[in-house]
Symmetry: C2
Subunit: 299 residues, 2 copies
């Protein structure tokens, strides 16, 4: 099986590619040159796309994105990456003629900011961020192309992923990952939310497993991935305990905007994904352990 | 009030502009040069857009589109008009800074082909045509921009509009309008559906009234316009009667694909639009009378 992975140099991309290489031939593509990137260039450029599809591709994992805060700062660039490049990628995959598998990393940002009081697979989409709107629109496009028999697409709405590399400044939710880095290094950290803030997380290892499962499966449509929904205070205690340090390394300085956007995640129901064999980390301890184990990888 | 109307040279555009000129200053823009078109050019071109917004605009009526069958034949052109141009138009309207009114002509094509067995404002969107997907995606974009306070947008899902000019070959539903032209001229016509086919219609005069109402109102989101849902056999009888000819002028040669796409419109519930003051023609006779009265205009 030959799999094209976009955003292969990204944090999630690297984790998935490492896991995929055992069982598939991977073509990694990214806007930046890096180890594991076979094709380097702008996905919206036809020469780049031609190199990606130089040989037939059985499946596409589309992770490349221009995320939340960065999209707000550069809306035209975000449209180019999130809409134009995605469409051209779908066209190129379709042109192969064999209805390839297409897995798209969407986001719970499709539900808006603030998030509604309950999230399940039937919750109406009401994005507020440009990024969330792009994801919702591309879900519609992929569903349409799947109904037309052009591709066989699944959109997975990813929760927060930990622990990303430090200084992921494009993401306003970076503090959730920085927490792991700081406590693992026994350093102080200031969090822009309250201990009662709630968030939905998967470890990067768990996300990678789910994405590989998505590439191999045949579920279509758009669905939420299951996640651990935890209070940040509990998360801090669990990380401090596992890292052998003290929760007192954390200073709480809630920012109302950040708290509203990233600290009020409601219970997140993912019955369709669970029925299709997707899974969350098995409890908070397992999530923290997996995230800490992955820190070397994410540095 | 200064209103920018895109697609001003089109059939619906001309009817709305004629009605609007009484009460507003209209700037008509279209890709083709025609009477009533003040700015002529590609809406996705920044020079064209700058001419449209040379003076502040209070409201935008966005009718320009690359419709159903034409979009299937030229998907890149359709994306350019339906997605890129619409986005740039929204950006330009937003940049004025006063949250202008923005009315978008969407379509019941967002519900897919074949249509579901019931359509109301809560029916899930499941487009099949590229055109329907573009409309659904742009509805999400406009809702997002409205939630962000950038514009004040309403998407109206239009039913079929009669009677369009003859030879509107870009539309696969052209036979519904050609029927009026043929019977008014006492000419024979072959219809590609059965007498039992059902369709949802408004006269162009009624559509124009609704669009002016939309520009003046403050309803937001996306909603179905109410419509007369009629069997084509009944429609033929009513048109023949009003035109003083015989229904026997019609030959029925149902094409299964056309019948499936345009002849199985279910009851169409539009309670949100009705509550917001939108209306259908007052019965089949009124619809036929208005459509026949408009034929001179549509030639």
């Amino acid at each position: 099986m030959r799999v094209l992975v976009t955003g292969a140099a990204g944090f999630v991309g690297r984790a998935v590619v490492a896991r995929l290489r055992d069982s598939a031939q991977v073509i990694g593509v990214d806007a930046v040159s890096a180890p594991g990137v076979d094709v380097h260039g702008d996905l919206a450029d036809s020469a780049t796309l031609s190199r990606c599809f130089a040989q037939p591709v059985d499946a596409v994992l589309h992770l490349a994105t221009w995320p939340g805060g960065a999209a707000e700062r550069e809306p035209n660039r975000a449209w180019h990456v999130n809409m134009d490049a995605a469409r051209l990628l779908v066209d190129k995959a379709t042109a192969q003629g064999h209805r390839p598998r297409f897995v798209f990393s969407s986001s719970i940002a499709v539900y808006g900011d603030p998030l509604p009081e309950r999230i399940d697979d039937a919750t109406p989409l009401a994005p507020t961020l440009l990024y969330g709107a792009h994801k919702a629109m591309m879900e519609i496009w992929l569903d349409t192309q799947t109904r037309r028999g052009a591709i066989n697409a699944l959109s997975l709405r990813l929760p927060g992923v930990v622990a990303r590399p430090r200084a992921s400044t494009a993401l306003r939710s970076a503090f959730l990952s920085d927490l792991f880095h700081a406590l693992a290094a026994d350093e102080p950290i200031t969090l822009p939310v309250s201990p009662g803030a709630t968030t939905a997380l998967q470890s990067v290892e768990c996300i990678a497993q789910n994405l590989v499962h998505a590439l191999q499966g045949d579920a279509t449509g758009a669905m939420n991935l299951p996640a651990q929904v935890v209070r940040v205070g509990e998360l801090v205690n669990a990380v401090a305990r596992a890292a052998g340090t003290h929760a007192s390394r954390v200073t709480w300085e809630p920012d109302p905007l950040i708290e509203a956007q990233f600290g009020r995640v409601p219970p997140l129901h993912a019955s369709r994904a669970i029925a299709a064999g997707f899974r969350a980390d098995e409890g908070l301890e397992a999530l923290v352990e997996a995230a800490l184990a992955g820190l070397t990888f994410s540095r």
